[in-house]
């Protein structure tokens, strides 16, 4: 590993421990971060989560539409963000299926389809085996075009998607045979890692027909500041990062437990809560490191002043 001279030397030369702390070799920081993530995972540490208003709003939005409604779930992310977003996607699909909603999957990201396929396999077909392709769910797959895809879907879905991901004509699939635009859905959800994603769904689909359907989103932590201005007026629910997923998982699993596979459901829909353990310890480590860095700075200044 490449370490510069500053890393190896103390910030204050042969000074006190505190002033030398500023020059701490970054490999110790990496080791501490690695341990703070690995230990909670290995020990399966779980901490209680209290569902916040945003998670409740998302849950309520899906609850509020009539049972058996047609919903559109856009998987606008790829494996890089799966650790943060897959738990909320899993919980949302289970929630929709438990309510009997008929689900249309699509993706604005090239690998979003694979993300949706994983959720269909691990959650939808595992806990809701009665769901039949074509009548209860459809996979439209990925389309290139970013916001243009969203804008066209707001007015003419058959022009955008003439077939599903496997090449079957939409007209042959009962669930989407009569779909004309996004107004034919009761709810649209975008699980989003960035551009194109939730913001584009607000700007190009929701703004065209604000009363036609409810819009909810699950977002990575880094892009949530861009989405907050749209919540709750244009976006009824917003799940923020792993914490949002953990809170939403709690609401969904409490309301819709699995009678025949409780342990498997706890595992598949417990990933958000499992990941909150490492997040807690890593955040505490970050705070500790920032405090240590500032102590070292003050100690260094004091030594400088003394000289």
């Amino acid at each position: 590993m490449n370490t510069n001279t500053h890393d190896r030397q103390g910030g204050g030369g042969g000074g006190s421990f505190l002033s030398r702390l500023g020059g701490l070799d970054r490999r110790w920081i990496f080791l501490a971060m690695g341990l703070s993530i690995a230990v909670p995972i290995l020990l399966k540490l779980r901490f209680p989560e209290v569902p916040g208003p945003m998670a409740r709003a998302t849950f309520d939005a899906i609850e509020s539409i009539p049972e058996g409604s047609r919903v559109l779930l856009a998987f606008d992310y790829d494996p890089a963000s799966a650790g943060e977003l897959q738990p909320m996607a899993n919980a949302m699909v289970h929630h929709c299926a438990a309510r009997g909603h008929r689900i249309v999957f699509m993706a604005l990201w090239p690998l979003g389809k694979q993300m949706a396929d994983a959720t269909i396999k691990d959650v939808l077909l595992e806990f809701h085996p009665q769901y039949a392709y074509g009548t209860d769910y459809v996979q439209l797959g990925y389309k290139a075009g970013n916001e243009a895809v969203v804008k066209l879907m707001a007015t003419d879905i058959p022009q955008q998607y003439s077939t599903d991901a496997a090449g079957a004509a939409l007209a042959s699939l009962p669930l989407v045979a009569d779909v004309k635009s996004t107004t034919d859905f009761k709810l649209v959800a975008s699980i989003s890692a960035g551009y194109p994603g939730a913001k584009e769904w607000v700007q190009y689909a929701n703004s065209a027909n604000p009363e036609a359907f409810k819009l909810v989103s699950g977002s990575t932590g880094v892009q949530v500041s861009q989405l907050l201005p749209y919540y709750p007026a244009q976006m009824e629910g917003l799940l923020v990062a792993v914490k949002g997923a953990a809170e939403y998982e709690m609401l969904v699993t409490a309301a819709y437990p699995s009678a025949d596979k409780p342990d498997l459901l706890a595992e598949r829909l417990g990933q958000g809560r499992v990941r909150m353990g490492p997040q807690l310890v890593a955040h505490l480590l970050m705070i500790g490191l920032i405090i240590l860095g500032n102590i070292a700075m003050v100690a260094g200044r004091s030594r400088g002043g003394a000289r």
Partner: protein, 233 residues
């Protein structure tokens, strides 16, 4: 002359049609046609992207520039996945058309394409993203210093959000009743106050500024004033 006039005319016409389509239902279908063209072009852009990838990496390999071996690995991986995908190597037969090889599913982990995606590509991309945690921790230790009032405010905000985003927030301040006069000391209350008021207000200002910039730039492009997207000549 034609190389510059035609793109400017296409851009101007497309921009005007899309604006009209937003305001007038009579021109909605025109807007849809333009968007369909755009989506087709976006798909074609993948081919251009592949061409660019080839040109850049082949040049790097032929001139033996530093890191040329990585360029070779990139191209090897590219052609491997392209071949597996296009030829559907090892695809799982389609139950409806078992005799038609190209109707098979190549995206499951049982085929080479799906296997590489599942067990090579996914873990690698997730690893790259996860490594951010290590660099952020190191950067926070070295750079996050309370040197002045602004940085102290930033530090305080960071501490509140970092704690409130975990169970620590409830553990430390969850005992303060939500309806008491001291509820503002709860970390979850502070987090909501920061995100919904301070952060959202700032973000709205930025968003409006960006939107005005986009409008100005779009008008310059549509009217043919800004030609920077054309080739250098």
């Amino acid at each position: 002359m034609l190389q510059r006039t035609v793109p400017i005319a296409i851009l101007g016409l497309s921009g005007v049609i899309l604006m009209l389509a937003y305001f007038s239902p009579l021109t909605t279908s025109w807007g849809e046609t333009v968007l369909e063209w755009f989506n087709i072009l976006a798909a074609v852009a993948f081919v251009l992207g592949a061409g660019n990838l080839l040109a850049v990496n082949l040049e790097k390999i032929s001139s033996r520039r530093p890191g040329w071996a990585y360029a070779a690995i990139t191209l090897l991986s590219f052609f491997l996945m392209l071949g597996f995908g296009l030829l559907k190597v090892g695809a799982v037969p389609n139950p409806q058309h078992p005799g038609v090889h190209l109707a098979g599913n190549y995206e499951t982990a049982d085929s080479p394409f799906g296997w590489i995606y599942e067990y090579v590509f996914s873990p690698l991309t997730a690893t790259m993203f996860a490594m951010l945690a290590f660099y952020v921790a190191s950067a926070a230790f070295r750079a996050f210093r309370a040197k002045n009032t602004e940085s102290i405010l930033l530090l305080g905000t960071a501490f509140v959000i970092l704690l409130a985003q975990t169970a620590a927030g409830m553990f430390l301040t969850g005992w303060i009743p939500e309806d008491s006069a001291f509820a503002f000391l709860r970390l979850d209350w502070m987090k909501v106050a920061i995100t919904e008021h301070i952060q959202t207000a700032g973000m709205r200002a930025i968003t409006i500024g960006i939107a005005l910039g986009v409008v100005a730039t779009s008008l310059r492009l549509i009217l043919g004033i800004d030609k920077s997207y054309l080739s250098k000549g």
